[in-house]
Amino acid sequence: MAEQSLLEAIREGLHEEMARDPAVYMLGEDVALGGPFGVTAGLAEAFGTQRVVNTPISEGAVMGLAIGAAAVGLRPVIEIMFIDFITLAMDQLVNHAAKLHYMSGGQLKIPLTVRVQCGISGNMGAQHSQSLEAWLAHVPGLKVVTPSCPADAKGLIKAAIRDDNPVVFIEHRGLYWARGEAAGAGAAVTPIGEAAVLREGEHITIATFGRQVAAALEAAAELAPQGISAEVIDLRSLQPLDMDTLVESVRKTGRLLVVHEAVSEGGIGAEIAMRVQQAAFYDLDGPILRLAAPFSPIPASSALDRFFVPGKAEILRAVRGAFRRQGAGG
């Protein structure tokens, strides 16, 4: 099995799409130099700085530019270096990219990909560590995807670029160098809107995405010999959510734990709880549980920020707690 890092997989996907379609352009701060993490390294050499374009530090205008270009026929991929800075482009993304197809009665299409990097890693503090996917998933007209492994990274970036709608492609910085099976040259597109059941189980469903997928799989492996069989779902697509897969799983297991690195209140977990309990109320054996970062800004200190990253230990605790609680309260 050929291996690659998630970062390499994204780069490969970008490369293939640029080669495939001359309407694909890259825009972002220092993208022609690879960007701070090297994701776009080599693209300018391959496709020229006409198509791989360094931009000034003007997130709002560059986002607008990409949207306007998409409206008249290009398929731009814009990089916002940290999701924290998407705050500077929210007007363009939310009031324009997401709404122009609708407001124009279908006259305009906005085939735009927004690559953006998120998460806690490297003790960067409150303004370089957020996970803001729930905002974006609350915006009709946007799609939101996030990969947990190289193969999905490549498949989803290709799907995002080929989609005729604005798609926000979220990359977790802590996963860039995580290795996994390579998708391979010209690999298939991963359809947007489909979750992946990575491990089947009987007693509880763990739904998560991004960096927490690995933690969930590890936890599930550790729980199995103890008689708790956990099903692990990688959501992959946060807007739209694959409710069919989720609900089917919870119907079977009767329990759900949602895990994310975004702060607890108002995260993706909340929406999942609303819809799963609506669809599978009578199949639930206990409350839907949420494991997430504390509702707080993220501290810079390495002594503190780790409490904001749900990992294997926290998942184990939450799952075990669920079964204990059942004994007591249920």
Partner: protein
Amino acid sequence: MPEAALHRELLARMWLNRAFEEKVSELYASRVITGLLHLAIGQEAVAVGACSHLRTDDWVLGGHRSHGHAVAKGADVKRLMAEIAGRATGYCGGKGGSMHLVAMDAGFVTATGVVGGQIPLALGAAFAAKEGGRQQVAVVFFGDGAGQSGAFHESLNIASLWRLPLVFVCENNGYAEFTPLSAHTLVERLARHAETYGMPAHTLDGNDLLAVHDAMGKAVSQARAGKGPVFVECLTHRMRGHYEGDPAKYRELSQLAEWKEKDPIARFARMIETRSGLTAAEHGAIEADARARIEDAAQFAIASPWPDADEADTQVSAGHG
């Protein structure tokens, strides 16, 4: 086109704009049209003068006060009127409305209700035009109030840096809502910002149709020739309140009277009476023709069906393309 014919054509276009806006106002007063409406009565010379050099496949973008830009770009006035009236036959099926007109068949890419938001979008149209290599240009209309937004400044920089084929048309009507430009900036001429970037920039009398026409002719050729963006600031005046229903108490009546004197249509007509021999009868016919076309558009809109309830949440996402 010989000059005399051109003059008559331009006059007709201004009348079409004026008639359109006056009809919108009338339909608003009678509650046929609802919503938040910003009319550009008094500013017609800018829209008409600017668009007179554009091809159908050139891109135009506007803002909250952009009915006239769409009309001047050649959009179908029936479908525009129907859109503003919220009807199914409107350009956007009633989903867009007054502030969000789109008429892609005429190259009117979009208007936006977010002050300044159209400027970055227009960079994108210009970027695509440049890459397309077919000598297309983009033109963006915005007001003086937008000149204090970050979007405006970030866009001037990028347009100049990348030599985009974009013409910035600032309709400086001296007011943002209820407050004069002097309450918003010390910079009296927004063109000065463009100069800082080395962009050719002109400030002119935006109620003088030929002045706009001439300046835009040069600006559009420069952009079309790949020589980069141009900034054209048109000093003008809206003869109505900020929005329909605004009593505009903040303006001095004397000021309004003075500007009525400068009404771009009457002024242009006076000028071409001598220069191109326009007769009163001809003028009357031009106006009447415009009003008739707009009356048709109004009747079309009124007779049009409302959008179906189940259209309310369709077209949120485009299907696969």
